[in-house]
Amino acid sequence: MSRFRVTGKGRVDHHAPVRFTFDGKSFFGLRGDTLASALLANGVHLVGRSFKYHRPRGIVTAGSEEPNALVGTSRGRGRFEPNTRATLQELRSGLVAESQNRLPSLKFDVGAINDALSPLFSAGFYYKTFMWPKGFWDKVYEPVIRAAAGLGRAPETTDPDRYASRHAHTDVLVIGAGPAGIAAALAAAKAGAKVVLAEETAEIGGALLSDPEVVIDGAKAWNWIAARAADLAESGVRVMTRTTAIGYYHQNMIGLAERLTDHLDSVPENAPRERLWRIRARHVVLAQGAIEKPLVFHGNDRPGVMLAGAAQTYLHRFGVRVGDSAAVVTSHDSAWHAAFDLQDAGTGIAVIVDTRTDVREDLVAEAERRGIRLRLGHTATGTDGRLRVSALRINPLRDGSVGNGTKVFCDCVLMCGGWTPSLHLFSHTKGTLKWDAENTAFLPDRKSEAVEIAGAGRGLWGYGAALDDGAKAGALAAEALGLSAAAPTHDVRQDRPGTGTAHEELPTDHDRGHTRAFVDFQNDVTAKDIRLAVREGMRSIEHVKRYTTTGMATDQGKLSNINGLLIASNALGKEPPKVGLTTFRPPYTPTTFGTFAGYHRGAHFEVTRKTPIDSWAAENGAVWEPVGQWRRARYFPQGSEDMDDAVARECRAVREGVGLFDASTLGKIEVTGPDAAEFMNRMYTNPWTKLAPGKLRYGVLLGEDGFIRDDGVIGRISDHRFHVTTTTGGAARVLNMMEDYLQTEWPDLDVWLTSTTEQWAVAALNGPKARTVLDGLVEGLDISNEAFPMMSVADCTVAGIPARLFRLSFTGELGYEINVPARHGRALWEALMEAGKAHGITPYGTETMHVLRAEKGFIIVGQDTDGTVTPDDAGLDWAIGKAKPDFVGKRSLARPDLVAQGRRQLVGLLTQDGKVRLDEGAQIVDDPNQPTPMKMIGHVTSSYHSATLGRSIAMAVIENGRARMGETVHVPTGKGVEAAVIASAVFYDPEGGRAKL
């Protein structure tokens, strides 16, 4: 056992050694350690290198605010991660950790040359140089800078772990399970509220875990915690440990990240690694405590220099002494207690330096009793040592001047510059803060959510104060919910209340232009960097932050913000609140991407919508095409067919025999109610009043701007009922648009809208033999051409299944769309395939559908139109109900530019060489020989090989296209120029007789 481990102390299991490696070297820690405490127990302080200067760095804190002790950790393939906080990572058996940002090794890092050159690398230096020669920045300088920057290395393999997420509701959510949080949770729960208590670390107790001698209501701290844990369980409080509240959102919605497996020796099968919680609480209590501030002095970043409170935590919670000989530098009472506790555990206290002259008498007396050398009214001005601190330089302060320095030898320095209330989550709510000059801290002021702040989080110091305040906050939260609550008070002995003063950079006898007094350890920002920023005209704290990068490291300024602010306000000669505090941004602690992605990975990233006929298509070799969230069969290759072969065969089948197409993805909206026809009149361009029940009409929907948004065939089922179809991708948009108008513009209309997209399965039967196939299956309807002509709709049964039968054609052939309840979709499909067998029925996919409709010149909204196309541009002027008083987009259609000459109009385009198929998206010019930039007159919107016509066909929008029939235009392809002739977009059966057979 290492001499730094104190037997009998800590909440670790002294009989359970746990092996781990750090930079390839094997070590033992104990069950209950964090990686940081285990390293310290082995005498290891040096754990990393800083960002810019590559200075050797040690562990500074014992919590999630740690700026230095960031390591890479791994546990087998795919489970490497950079920048893990050693102070938060619980030790597990076989943990593999590596230091970061050093080359070749932690002890010898060539990057440290930056440190020697540090005067050159002052704040913002990179804005001032690397500009010459022009063009060198991203080719030469930037790659070098990028390679030097960054902390750990990025993972390189796919993560095998799973992540989960969950929603929850609660009456009261208490964040932070220190004394204030525990008291709050209990007070609220005892009043009858449903309570969740969230704690970032592995167990509840907070600061009390580091102060075991405190006696609360007669019980020693740890016994009190154990008893309260039982109380919490009994009162039904849900205690969530290893759970960090990361963000506070509108209306008391809190995001929390729960870590489930990183502390376990082996990864359990099928257990998620982390879980994102979204908890909506009626009331929130923030009891996050306070974070200790470092002191800012030359050399305060040397390994071995750490926060006094951290040393106390390592001692009491983990049974680890952080060194043999400690020098204590403080401006706050709390560090004195740490010194006494460490001395009791066998660490020599070389000196207690307090910047104050006036320190509480009992503390001074106790230190004298213990024989500790005291230096009141002193400052720290430097440290010695390379990879570990070996001495602290201290100087007396006399009437504002700094006397001569003396060295005190030590192997660790414990510093304390006071405490900062942890108000990050409160800031997320945009609650305001007020400056408390006496405590040199920001405290919560105006609240914007139903929230209480308790304990050290609002500047109260000492366990008694925190406990009583917590209880009060819990009771207030319960009372806000209408419960009657009591706030018990607590009798606390051995309490350790304290006060202190705050400093900017400590007074020094060095030239302050040359001191290296660190404010932001990780980002290597010194006090003089901040002063430089101010000198250069950065006056807002946001400018100072961005210019120096202080507070932008992975601890998010938890240690540095207030020190940085004090230094900046001093340099500006302004009060701190006038300089302002930078905004805290979520998450409170960095959180894995996986936690946010949750279940939405791989196939579950977004739902894949499948039609009822999808399984049949899958069994029959469909090649898929993603369309929005749907997957659709694009074509059904046979044998060695490629897409062109398969599509040609499928097209021929439809033109000559019969084909079957799954149209189930079409959006479907049922519009019902006494005012349904009026509503349709106002939404769509077409007139609907006179459309008789049992009839279909092609409808066009515009945006307010007069441009085509959607289209589809719409059936009037009865006077008060329309069956609207939309494009596959447009379904949700159209429904939203309809609802928007109905609810905000025309609330007087008596209409209901229901999405029926997924209620119907739709099989489209097309081809000259369509009726022959269908005839034998239909009951209750005469489907002869006379009785059921083109553009009819009727209810009937098909293959014994209740159906809504449409007669329409998107292919130009005789066609039917058979709608049946979704659950019968596959049965219908199979019945049709069976009935069509004798006629060579051929299933076809979206690609074939596209070719067939292009041969007929039917547009696809979103492909042949792009949101800048009017009905007239698309040749759909006929679909406008000119006599109607109004419809969405009507007014815009009269705007000057929409009726101007030279608009791009939809036309057909035939390449001179019929074998050439133009690219969709290719641009069209009149003169291919003009210089760049060329005058473009349009572009190709659709382009296919037509097996029916034995050549390529294309649709295009071209300026004045309809007036230019027969003219030749040019399409530069990048490899050459193709000449093409403008033609009608209806390439096949222009009379339209085939659909009316």
Binding site: A147, Y249, K528, E536, H543, T591, E625, G921
Partner: protein
């Protein structure tokens, strides 16, 4: 003003960095200026700089309600590209790109313009058609943009997932090699410093509360928190808050303001050499020089002036990022934030004169105006100086919403940024 150079760095290093000048002085408002620019974002500061430099108009104030560069200029994900579809946009953004290429030298401030290439992924047939259309149009407009197969895309960005089994497989990508990123703060600071050096006053912490018009209807000046300041020409360049200010002059703007969120990861060593955007899944990513992965998403669904975005959007964005780059799930989000973006019906900017004599407007850049900063500043300065639009911004009028002569980049491709 000290010239910034390696030499000045060395000289100052030796003297404890004590002799650096203020980059811009903290100006107190005068009673009158020739031109007032409202909003010290990159666009407003850029316009002030070009007014002084190219038009000799130096009696200029840029008035900012907070700290300069603190609006969207300091909140964006810094993607710069010019491969827009329509001629009007291509010309404007390419003009900006030309200026970007010399900006560090022009301003004597390293804005870290890094032409590492922007890759835009196509995930379905519609994307392919649309991006091809861009590639073709760009080529004929002289704007670089090329089409890559999935394999070529992966060569360009090795951490890309091009598995055909992905939920939204990569079917190809458009690559603009001249495109890239820059350091946003440096752009604001560089323009501020260079403008101040030419005599422009930059007045911070001074909200403009109204625009005052005279009896003849023309602009007389602006009301501010520090009193009335006279000027015959006022240009408003206040991004998400432009419509509020213009309303005080009686000019209604077709703008909607939405929160747009972005986030960064903890820094890591270089793993991402370029910018990747995916519109179908609404996410994009690059890596900063510091090593942070910089990630952006689509706008929140609802209009708002609150700079707190919601959590669901971040969940979706990171899920999308983990799909496109499956090795990043164990990386951690360090911080996220939001900005308020001003969106026009056709997703193109409004930059030009207004019906009010002496009043000019530059807004509507929405989710993608950082890339335009030098170009927009440059033509805005021209417009103000000559009281007529530069040919490049002539199409970006306010009237187009009445005439219907839209420049509908969103409709064309639903492409952001």
């Amino acid at each position: 003003m000290t010239r910034f150079s390696a030499l000045s760095l060395v000289r100052n290093a030796l003297s404890g960095n004590r002799d650096w000048d203020q980059q811009w002085p903290d100006a107190q408002p005068k009673t009158e200026y020739d031109v007032i620019i409202v909003g010290a974002g990159g666009h407003g500061l850029g316009a002030a700089y070009y007014l002084a430099k190219e038009h000799g108009i130096t009696n200029v104030a840029v008035i900012e309600k907070g700290w300069l560069g603190g609006g969207n200029t300091g909140r964006n994900t810094t993607i710069i590209r010019s491969n827009y579809l329509y001629d009007e946009s291509a010309r404007l953004y390419d003009h900006a790109l030309d200026l970007w290429e010399g900006l560090s030298q022009e301003l004597n401030y390293n804005v870290m313009f890094s032409q590492r290439g922007v890759l835009m992924l196509a995930h379905n047939v519609h994307d392919v058609q649309s991006f091809q259309r861009h590639v073709y149009a760009n080529r004929l407009n002289g704007v670089d943009n090329q089409w890559l197969t999935p394999r070529q895309a992966k060569e360009f960005c090795p951490i890309l997932n091009i598995s055909p089994d992905a939920r939204y497989p990569v079917m190809g990508a458009a690559l603009q090699k001249r495109a890239g990123t820059a350091r946003h703060d440096a752009v604001a600071w560089g323009y501020a410093r260079a403008a101040a050096a030419r005599g422009v006053d930059i007045i911070q912490n001074c909200p403009v509360t109204a625009i005052r018009r005279g009896a003849n209807g023309a602009v007389e000046g602006v009301e501010t928190a520090r009193g009335f300041i006279r000027a015959k020409k006022v240009a408003v360049s206040a991004a998400g808050h432009t419509s509020v200010i213009m309303e005080t002059a009686g000019v209604r703007l077709p703008l909607e303001s939405y929160p747009l969120q972005a986030l960064v990861s903890e820094p890591v060593k270089p793993c991402m050499p370029c910018v990747v955007m995916s519109n179908a899944v609404h996410a994009y990513m690059s890596q900063s020089d510091k090593g942070e992965l910089v990630i952006g998403s689509g706008t929140d669904q609802y209009t708002s002036y609150s700079q707190r975005g919601g959590l669901p959007l971040i969940e979706h964005t990171l899920a999308a990022i983990c799909e496109i780059f499956p090795t990043v799930t164990r990386m951690r989000m360090l911080r996220k934030w939001g900005g308020i973006v001003d969106v026009t019906p056709d997703r193109s900017a409004i930059l030009g004169k207004t019906p009010v004599p002496g009043l000019y407007v530059n807004c509507g850049w929405g989710t993608g105006g950082f890339k335009a900063t030098p170009g927009a500043g440059h033509v805005l300065a021209w417009t103000v100086a000559k009281d007529e639009p530069h040919p490049i911004n002539a199409p970006f009028t306010l009237e187009r919403f009445t005439t219907g002569r839209l420049i509908d980049e969103a409709a064309a491709a639903a492409v952001a940024h």
